[in-house]
Symmetry: C2
Subunit: 256 residues, 2 copies
DNA sequence: CGACACGTTGAGATATATCAAACGTGGTGG
DNA sequence: CCACCACGTTTGATATATCTCAACGTGTCG
């Protein structure tokens, strides 16, 4: 399986060519696995390479003075997790694994050469950082205007759509190997309340979250409850490219 | 006064040269004034030019199904308000004026030529969209982890720092020509509650918001209350470049 | 002077947090 | 293989922050 197989897959207007995928693979110096709950990049540290998430999930987060944490982004396979730093050199937040992950490393010098030679590819990677921005705006909407059930419904709808785009969800069921506390930190809630929200979603027949899997019983209903509309993801038409069957996201504990 | 005078001013590592400012000015086709409460760009509409905010304030916002609005960004003079669309062609949110504004228009064809000829300038404009992203993450933190007083304190601290960077605040006092409802839409609160928050801030001696002006009595205290740290703004060292004295932001009603 | 938008205040309703405890369950070591 | 441990989940009771609704005040502009 190609390491870059999922990069920008099914994103409207900026899909990568096979040649571009190969070029990115050529810039990869290293592929690593990291255990769950480890930081990949820390705030303020100088970054020297870009990181492509191949398998697993990672979060971007900000801690406050009292140890409370807010997720400001979450990444699924195919996402670059720290491209921001390529331009800014340092990150204003932390990036940490939620699950064991496989990541591919692209040293900046190799990336420099690649993007200089291929301005079209540079443009597409810029786009991908703009897509991150669009997602962040949707998260702002979620936190600012939705109630707790709406926030979780919106979050789950988003992850469903994003996993579907990269072939890891069939729209009705997808892996979500994170804890209710993680969900709480993403949605600006407490884990206790997230638990009650999950019960509400279950009892209203929208979805069930059990053993790291979400079963979506009523997708339209879930999306409606979360005031979710996928336009901000700039996805290609639904009905994702076949080729990769729905898969899983690594969950077993790996070496730290 | 140069239209681009405030663009990327006092931003660490990516300040523009005088020549680059002149080049941007050369790409400006038009300068317009627009009244308060008018949309500049609407969601989903194809965009054909970039917009530089020269004077006034504009917001980026998302409306929900029930007419509630969430601000996902706010812009001060010197900001590009829709560079995202240059890459994505459409915006996933709306951009509307909060006050009467002066904006400069840069048609994409002119921008294309400019950025092709000047990759270094292209890089800096890309950076500026990444700075927007960093600010959005700070907003996520604000909404997800701060209480109402903290949110408003954080918001005001941010605006103070950003206006200071472009010479429109001296750190102790700055113009804020928006309503308490706008503030509420930015902070995920109701306008009634924002009113009470302002009273709290006043009574605790942190700051006073009156007649479209914020007087910061205790900057350190305000920033502490909002758990604010300006690192995400990537500002150059404090002590802003002299040259432009503290000014105002247009407030008088203009023609729609 | 009057209208209208914005700001201010109060009382009461409600959503979510907090605190505390019990329950499951998968992994680990004896 | 079993027992235990750690971590995550679930539930209950109570506290509290914020919203909602409603009314009244105030400044600005025509």
């Amino acid at each position: 399986m190609m390491l870059t197989e999922r990069v920008l897959r099914n994103r409207r207007g900026i899909a990568l060519t096979q040649e571009e995928r190969a070029l990115i693979e050529g810039a990869i110096s290293d592929v690593r696995t990291i255990g769950a709950r480890h930081d990949v990049v820390s705030e303020g540290v100088r970054v020297r390479h870009a990181t492509l998430l191949v398998d697993g999930m990672v979060s971007r987060y900000i801690d406050d003075r009292h140890g409370m944490r807010q997720l400001v982004g979450i990444h699924v396979p195919g996402d670059f997790v720290d491209l921001q730093a390529y331009a800014l050199r340092r990150l204003d937040h932390n990036v940490g694994t939620l699950t064991p992950v496989t990541i591919a490393i692209l040293p900046y010098p190799a990336l420099d050469r690649l993007l200089e030679a291929r301005p079209e590819l540079a443009r597409k990677l810029w786009y991908s950082t703009l897509l991150d921005g669009a997602t962040q705006r949707a998260w702002l909407f979620r936190l600012g205007r939705l109630d707790s059930v709406g926030r979780v419904a919106h979050f789950l709808s988003e992850i469903n759509a994003r996993l579907e785009a990269v072939g890891l969800s069939d729209g009705a069921r997808f892996p979500l190997p994170i804890t209710q506390s993680d969900l709480a930190e993403a949605c600006g809630l407490t884990s206790v309340h997230v638990n009650r929200v999950m019960r509400t979603l279950r009892e209203s027949g929208l979805c069930v979250f059990r053993s790291a899997t979400v079963d979506v019983a009523d997708r339209a209903g879930l999306e409606r409850r979360g005031d979710f509309s996928p336009n901000y993801l700039y996805l290609a038409r639904r009905a994702p490219t076949p080729g990769t069957s729905t898969g899983t996201i690594a969950k077993a504990r790996a070496t730290p």
